[in-house]
């Protein structure tokens, strides 16, 4: 078994891996913010809705991949409907109004998902065991879960695909134009409505992935909506508009909050994880007020 040094690295690595889980949730926020300037309060509810739909289908005997496809379809329909019913009438409204509209959406989704599928918690097994890897434990004394590595791999794939999508495709470029200015984008002929529908559908897909990974760890239950809270400091640190920021922010937050809790927590009564990420993000912001990867906006008087 390892000594204090290997324990330090274990804390560090498991913190980094926990950070990946935060990043997965933060990604959904970033996508929507990038494309529509909306801080989507309903992201947590979407994660819950997606995971609950999936697990309820599986429990009713639907094949794993088929359930995945159905859930994805449901999330796409949800994205399109959100654009139609909620966002379209609110084009060009102030950010705070759109934010509030997503709060309404969050309540609606919470009621809808529990109304349809009930409020009982479900276990979710996605076939990856959440146990420490023995060979690693034997050699280094570190206990790292293979599930965490799996989640990290998924996140890496997801981020690569999304980055390519944003940088290399026409839709991606259109998305960025929309994010800059709704009216200007409309003026140059970008189909704003389709773009929004697409981005909400993609965010729905990200919510499904996050929901499955988190659901496998904590069970699929209402508390999945709380994972959004874990994403807030990540977003603030990494910037609302940056996919890379969501990942790097997640890693920094994850690692530092675990290190702080394990090494500083015992001296002050523990539980500092609740506020430490925010204070850390705050310290970063004082140096760089637009977040690590956020875009710098120049004020014109």
């Amino acid at each position: 078994m390892g000594g204090p040094v290997s324990f330090f690295f274990e804390v560090l690595f498991s913190g980094l891996l926990a950070g990946v889980m935060y990043s997965l949730v933060a990604l959904g926020f970033v996508l929507i913010y990038k494309a529509s300037g909306v801080f989507n309060f309903a992201q947590g509810a979407m994660v819950f809705f997606a995971a609950l739909t999936f697990v309820s289908l599986v429990e009713r005997g639907v094949n794993f991949w088929l359930a995945m496809a159905i859930t994805l379809a449901v999330m796409i329909v949800l994205g399109v409907l959100t654009e139609r019913v909620v966002l379209r009438p609110l084009i060009n409204q102030p950010q705070i109004t759109l934010f509030m509209a997503t709060i309404g959406l969050a309540f609606f989704l919470e009621g809808l998902s529990q109304g349809i599928w009930g409020s009982q918690p479900h276990g979710l097994d996605i076939g990856i065991r959440d146990e420490p890897m023995e060979w690693l434990a034997e050699r280094t004394g570190m206990f790292l879960s293979q599930f965490d590595l799996f989640a990290a791999a998924i996140a890496a794939v997801l981020v690569t695909v999304l980055a390519l999508f944003f940088q290399r495709t026409r839709i991606g470029r259109a998305l960025r134009a929309v994010a800059d200015d709704h009216q200007a984008a409309l003026a140059v002929g970008i189909p704003l409505k389709q773009i929004w529908a697409i981005v909400w559908a993609v965010a729905g897909f990200v919510a499904l992935v996050a929901g499955l990974l988190w659901g496998a760890r904590t069970g699929v239950q209402f508390a999945l909506t709380f994972v959004a809270l874990k994403a807030l400091p990540v977003l603030i640190l990494g910037g609302f508009e940056s996919i890379a920021g969501a990942i790097v922010g997640g890693l920094i937050i994850g690692a530092s909050e675990k290190l702080a809790e394990v090494y500083l927590g015992p001296y002050v009564g523990g539980g500092i994880e609740s506020w430490f990420p925010y204070v850390l993000a705050l310290a970063f912001l004082l140096i760089r007020p637009e977040g690590l990867f956020g875009e710098k906006h120049i004020d014109r008087v």
Partner: protein, 439 residues
């Protein structure tokens, strides 16, 4: 229609409902069911009130009520939120011919919020297995009943259980115990009791808080791994429970050395953790199962007539359901006791109910008549002692169901009672209450 008209229509409708509900009928005993059927804690709320209301329905259907007095109830959604809980309480407290008989807040926070309101309205509060522990001192809290067992009693029983497993209380010396608690009033409540016992038995205890909601516990379990405790006591709530069990698996901590409180010991707490929960142990003051005669009677007389509360019948007999059943039995027996003093077959008031609960005595013989032997322990409440039982059994999850692994383990009142009295005295001093004289 303009929004203002919608509002007007809504108000008119609300007024109509209010007026309609106020028409009360005689020979009925009204009990509010202020619970929660949505949100993160919905499984607990729906299971508990399902059990309680099914039992009331059984009494109505099979016996025609209690000595001919039918039980009636109304549900009110509190969303586990203090403000909504107070609103529900105020809304329903004057319903029925004699007002609300008794309140089961089913939330430590709401119990606190009602701690002064209910006594002022002369309505007793039953906080069965939650709420304020020092309310067990009936001299200071005449209207509050933390019945059956409190957190502190339960905690001493846990240490006794650990002692039994280790081969005697003297073997506890030098052992290491971690108290992993939800960072809230509820979670913190047992810290002083554990410290007192650590001093008495010579073990060391480390208190590790988990910030709400507790869906990420990596750092806590890394600390636990470093401490290498002999036992971990889990004081969780909601999603914190399965997450803790999963995290224990991730750091290789044996689940059969994890002891949960009863709010960490329902099916809903272990099923989401999957296989990781095998071997996990939790305390309980009510036992699960469908073989008890009273559950069978409910199946026959209530569900047989299509009147049951539970949509998902597989939940009948689950931990939360039978806890509600116990709450129903206790409530109904207290009404019966009060009727014997204040007039059989007459609806009783909250004040009379208070007397009924305080003089409640459910012995083995009565349990047998009720068909609830083994479901709960015998209970005797007095003016001094508003708890009445104090013992718990321990249950172990085998991956599919809870198995009872001990007999009733009594609590250590020599530790708990002085602490309760000290804490209650402090409350009395702050509020300027003169404790009653219990003869």
């Amino acid at each position: 229609m303009k929004p203002s008209k919608y509002l007007a229509a809504g108000v008119a409708l609300a007024a109509a409902v209010l007026a309609g509900g106020a028409l009360a009928q005689a020979k009925e005993q009204f009990i509010p069911a202020n619970g929660y059927w949505v949100g993160p804690y919905a499984p607990g709320g729906s299971g508990f009130f399902g059990g309680m209301l099914d039992y009331f329905q059984l009494l109505n259907e099979r016996d025609g009520g209690i000595n001919g007095v039918k039980l009636t109830w109304e549900k009110c959604e509190t969303e586990y939120n203090n403000a909504r809980g107070v609103e529900c309480y105020e809304r329903l407290k004057a319903k029925g011919s004699t007002g609300a008989t008794v309140i089961h807040p089913l939330s430590t926070g709401i119990t606190y919020s009602l701690l002064e309101k209910a006594p002022a309205d002369k309505i007793p509060l039953i906080s069965m297995g939650y709420g304020r522990t020092d309310a067990a001192d009936g001299r200071v809290f005449p209207y509050v009943f933390p019945l059956i067992t409190t957190y502190w009693s339960q905690n001493t029983a846990k240490i006794k259980f650990i002692g039994m497993r280790e081969g005697g209380m003297d073997k506890l010396k030098g052992k290491k115990i971690v108290n992993l608690y939800h960072d809230s009033a509820y979670g913190k409540e047992t810290i002083p009791v554990l410290d007192a016992q650590a001093k008495k038995y010579g073990f060391t205890v480390t208190h590790i808080p988990v910030p709400h909601p507790g869906n990420e516990q990596q750092s806590q379990w890394l600390q636990i791994r470093q401490i290498r405790p002999d036992w971990v006591i889990l004081r969780g709530w909601g999603v914190m429970n399965p997450t803790a069990i999963k995290a224990a698996q991730r750091v290789g901590f044996p689940r059969n050395k994890m002891l949960g409180v009863w709010w960490s010991g329902a099916e809903e707490d272990v099923i989401p953790a999957g296989d990781a929960a095998k071997g996990y142990i939790a305390a309980g003051f009510n036992l699960p199962g469908t073989s008890f005669p009273v559950v069978q009677a409910i199946m026959k007389n209530v569900y047989g007539k299509g009147k049951g509360e539970m949509e998902d019948r597989s939940r009948i007999g689950s931990i939360y359901y039978t806890r509600g059943l116990v709450a129903g039995i206790v409530t109904a027996e207290a009404i019966r006791t009060a009727q014997e003093k204040y007039g059989k077959g007459k609806p009783i008031t909250g004040e009379q109910m208070r007397w009924g609960i305080e003089n409640l005595n459910i012995d083995e013989k009565r349990l047998k008549e009720l068909g609830a032997v083994g479901l709960m322990q015998p209970l005797k409440v007095t003016c001094m002692d508003h708890e009445g039982g104090g013992a718990v059994k321990f249950l172990q999850w085998d991956g599919a169901k809870w198995n009872v692994i001990t007999d009733w383990i009594a609590s250590d009142q020599s530790i708990v009672r002085p602490m309760i009295e000290e804490s209650a005295a402090k409350y009395a001093k702050e509020k300027g209450i003169t404790p009653r004289d219990c003869k």
